[in-house]
Amino acid sequence: MSDTSHHIVPYSTYGLILLLLLVLTGTSVAVTQIELTKWSTAVALLLAGTKSAFVLAIFMHLKFDQKIFRIMAVLIILLLASVIIITFLDYAFR
């Protein structure tokens, strides 16, 4: 069954995203030097989440895929975010 057209992503875009991922990785390491106390996990997750979003959207072609798959991906991310938030109902109030 072939009901999706294949989108060709230029190599330059891949290169750009790779560069961005490396910069974000560097940022993740750099922010550990700053004392963010209870926000350190949130910042680390935000940076990791941003990197994942680029990988999903460009490398895994989610940006060019059917809407239903984009909705599914967003719902799953919301689910995992909820799990993390609920876990922090323990850590933040202990």
């Binding site: 799953i76 689910l79 799990v83 609920i86 933040a92 109030f93």
Partner: protein, 537 residues
Amino acid sequence: MTSNDSENKGYKSYLEEDGGRKGIFKWILSTDHKRIALLYLYSMMVWFTVGVVLGLLMKLELIAPGQTIMGPQSYNATFTVHGVIMIFLIVIPGLPAVFGNFMLPIQIGAKDVAFPRLNLLSWYIYVLGSILVILSLFGNGPPDTGWTFYAPYSFKTGTNMLPAALGAFVLGFSSILTGLNFIVTIHRMRAPGMTWFKMPLFTWTLYGTGWIQLLATPIIGITLLMVAGDRILGIGFFDPAKGGDPLLYQHLFWIYSHPAVYIMILPAMGVISEIIPTFSKKTIFGYKAIVLSTLAIAFVGYFVWGHHMFTSGMSGTALYTFSILTFLVAIPSAIKVFNWISTMHQGSISTDIPFLWAASFIFVFLIGGLTGLVVGALATDVHLHDTAFVVAHFHFIVFGGVGFAFFGAIHYWFPKIFGRMYDKSWAKTGWIIFFVGFVTLYGPMFYLGMIGMPRRYFDYLDEFHGPNIVSTLGALVMIAGLLIILTNLIKAARHGEKTTEMNPWGGTNLEWQIPTPPPLENFDEIPVIEKATYKYD
């Protein structure tokens, strides 16, 4: 011969199609979803026997105070290996791997699952994980952590904890791949006209289960790797001496392991939703409510893991959040029970053996579910946590729920799967003995827990003696029933009366509209679905 008979229709059943292979190779190299289902069934029967024997040994130890047949270390190892085998090798994969594999493609009008080779690979991974679990029995002694592998003890014990944890890690991949296969199959391979709300309810529960398998299982994998990191490399994720947090382990473990309870119970609910309308000869009551409650259980089930940790020292905010969420998840479960009972109401009920298993499922599931609310409430849980009450609740849900549904399913689909029929009177005898034994085994444990008997101890005070004798006698009665059931089924699979009747129970799903046993690719032509299932005239 009636039109309900598939004999002499000039086809070869999947059991006769060997793909040009001989002996065991026609099984272990076959990518046919039906043969793979039977591979799982036979593998699980072996592990189930081991698990039952270990369970019996524990009950024999507890028949009297003091050391009876084993010491404390052996007892710790016995309940750990019993738990690991029963949870990771039987009840988590059980219904999806056996009956899901066999029935899902047929129920949606497909010739196989979306990825047949991946399906076979899942079974090989399952076998590899099983071997690792069994290897943990040798060498330094079996693991003694309990099936939960709680830190910090799990990275400090000198026993064979790593092979067992690695086995659970590997088994997770089998579970993920099966879930992925089912989700893709349901999305992409439904027959024309098989819209979402025409799908059989067993398939719906496999869909909900598939998502849990896919999304929750990686978390246990990562968690067990972290334990291995603590144990081998001394990293200290969960080691308070190094700034780690043992409670983080409990969070991560239960983020997977509570949804895993729904991996176990959702397909069981699907089986019951198939059996009850068939034997009540009545359209299922509230089809959409059952579908939505399935999805609701799968979704809300992600957020209730903390109720396993009420006495662990979590924050007050987390405690009452998890307690409220736990009470919420009871609502969709209750909807299902209401709908099953309403389906039976004014139905033309025939008390064949699959129906008896389904009806007794509702009985034990209700007890298991309602006692779940007792331990889901903060105040009562403080009293009952880590007592025999929890063991009773857990077994009423997991063994009562999954076990009864499994036996219901095997008796329901047996003629379709094997093309033979079992002895119905022996099946009923086995069921009643098993049922009486089950309630006698686990019932007293509720009382024992309430009067304060802790779980996971090889010894106890004299005041707990009486109910423990009753419980052990119950175990012996239950095993007698189990032997009758298994002997009857094994004998029937080999020498039972042959049947080619397509629809022996008068079911309405697609599996009852194809020959018995099914041909290799299920359908000569993919069917076009015109009317909803569960319609009885």
